[in-house]
């Protein structure tokens, strides 16, 4: 008798912001194989960019992702600036750094909230999304928008930070740090979370290197890489921060990396506001010479890579975009196989795949169609936490 069951998940999936299709092959509770089909949201942005001017390209890449709407434009600007060595004024470098770090904080909080929800910690979900609001407010103060900032351009930034806004930003940041401290304690000191998340979805250091995993996913597996420190761009060579690494490679380690990174990010924003001097924010470059350039930056999920080839006209001949999730994604083959279905949800969420939630997910048994919906998968995951709590004598 064949005990294998195929669980198709998607193309609409509760963990992902974008549609994709997972196929989990399970034997009883255990996942024995996994495959993924992406492309449901392929918009051909690389092709579109070839028909746009460089100024428009920045706007196009900003719309790749609703969360990394500062990372892609900066990477694209860095690539274009790399072609012919365009100088960026110092103040603009600091402003780029500030938007990057604020973006990292709100992205990590978003992830923490979702992760909390999937394991049945809805308080964590409510808290972290609530505390994310002041960060979006600061973003709005600086750029005029909570998301899709329209802030970056080749040679600088579009808007300066007003002097009277600095104290507001610092006050909100201080308030936020207190809340984050509380959140950190609530998450990292919770014995149930330790029991629930430690040791599952382990990505070994060797696998992380072989798959060229990036960002928090790699750092949680002991691979000490961070574009901000290794390939300094914007003003990262001027600020001091720690690169957070863990060695375990499990879901808990990934959570620890992200939570501790938020403190570093807040510190970087403070240092930038402190060090910034008055000055121009745009070097107003005119022409882009023929050539090719590479821009790498550290997005919240890892290195974001842009390659641009230019023939001297106003639009790129080739614009290659590689988002971090592209490299982190295939590590699933390492982490999900061998785990149980109730853990699959949180392991999938652990790399912070750049996708969000819709709720169509089902379990299909080979012959007669048994359906398992998204809520069902999340319920499984939440029940496991509940049982664990009961076993540990907590309510």
């Amino acid at each position: 008798m064949n005990n294998k069951t195929t669980i198709p998940i998607g193309p609409y999936h509760p963990l992902q912001e974008e549609p994709e299709f997972w196929k989990l092959i399970v034997d009883g509770e255990k996942v024995i194989d996994v495959d993924v089909r992406i492309g449901y949201n392929h918009r051909g942005i690389e092709k579109i960019s070839e028909s746009k001017s460089f100024d428009q390209s920045i706007f196009i890449v900003e719309r790749i992702c609703g969360i990394c709407s500062s990372s892609h434009p900066i990477a694209c600007c860095e690539a274009i600036e790399d072609i012919c060595g365009i100088e960026v004024p110092e103040r603009a470098r600091f402003i780029r750094t500030i938007t990057q770090e604020l973006e990292r904080i709100h992205s990590h909080l978003l992830w923490l909230g979702l992760a909390g929800h999937f394991i049945g910690y809805n308080t964590v979900f409510m808290w972290s999304w609530k505390y994310r609001e002041p960060i979006c407010d600061i973003m709005e103060t600086i750029t005029g928008n909570r998301q899709n900032y329209g802030m970056h351009k080749v040679g600088g930034v579009r808007r300066d930070i007003e002097r009277e806004h600095v104290s507001y930003i610092l006050t909100r940041l201080d308030e936020f740090l207190k809340q984050l401290d509380m959140l950190k304690g609530a998450v990292l000191d919770d014995p149930v979370l330790h029991a629930r998340l430690k040791g599952i979805g382990v990505l070994s250091r060797e696998a992380a290197i072989d798959y060229a995993a990036l960002g928090p996913t790699a750092r949680a597996s002991g691979v000490d890489i961070d574009v901000r420190r290794d390939h300094p761009y914007a003003a990262y060579d001027r600020v001091k921060f720690k690169v957070i690494t863990q060695t375990e490679g499990d879901v808990f380690a990934k959570a620890v990396v992200r939570i501790l990174e938020m403190f570093e990010s807040a510190g970087i924003v403070r240092q930038c506001l402190d060090m910034m001097k008055e000055g121009p924010v745009d070097s107003k470059p005119k022409d882009i010479a023929p050539g090719e350039g590479i821009g790498v930056i550290e997005a919240p999920r890892g290195e974001c890579f842009h390659y641009i080839k230019c023939d001297g006209t106003n639009s790129p001949v080739r614009h290659k975009i590689r988002a971090p999730t592209y490299m982190n994604f295939p590590t699933f083959r390492e982490t999900v196989i061998g785990e149980t279905v109730s853990d699959a949800t949180i392991i999938m969420a652990a790399i912070d795949p750049c996708y969000c939630c819709t709720e169509r997910m089902m379990v299909v048994d080979g012959s007669d169609k048994e359906l398992m919906r998204a809520q069902e998968m999340i319920r499984l995951s939440q029940e496991k936490t509940k049982a664990l709590r009961a076993r540990m004598g907590m309510k």
Partner: protein, 155 residues
Amino acid sequence: MTADIISQKINERFGDRILKSDRRSAKRLYVDVYPKEIVDITRFLFKELGLRFNIASCVDDFDGIEILYHFAYDPSAVIVTVRVIIKDKENPRIDTITTVTRSAWWIEREMHELFGVGFDGNEDMRPLLLPDDWPKGVYPMRKSFVVPRRDSRKS
């Protein structure tokens, strides 16, 4: 290792198998090789020098299909780009580098469907981004591909 030292090491190992080596700045090194060398140079960079595979960019250019393999050396902020030009545009083929690193698994699938590049030794050439019913032999990232006009008279 600075860009100069990496360039020197590549030259020592590969000698005249390197067509051109261009150190554009302290952070960027471009190395041109024949397509048949790609597995050897990838193994050298990835396994021996410990560079990280960033990604590969494929370009449909005048001389043929150009593939740029980007590798990063994180301790000293260098990005090494290995460029190969496949002259045969009709049926471009090159050896897979997934035998060296699994990180190239997806990008080879992507280049296969968007540019029509065949990767010898890579069995998994299922579509990654394009829909399953995408016509065979149509490669949307080729310069010859023009987005077809929609006939609005048909529903």
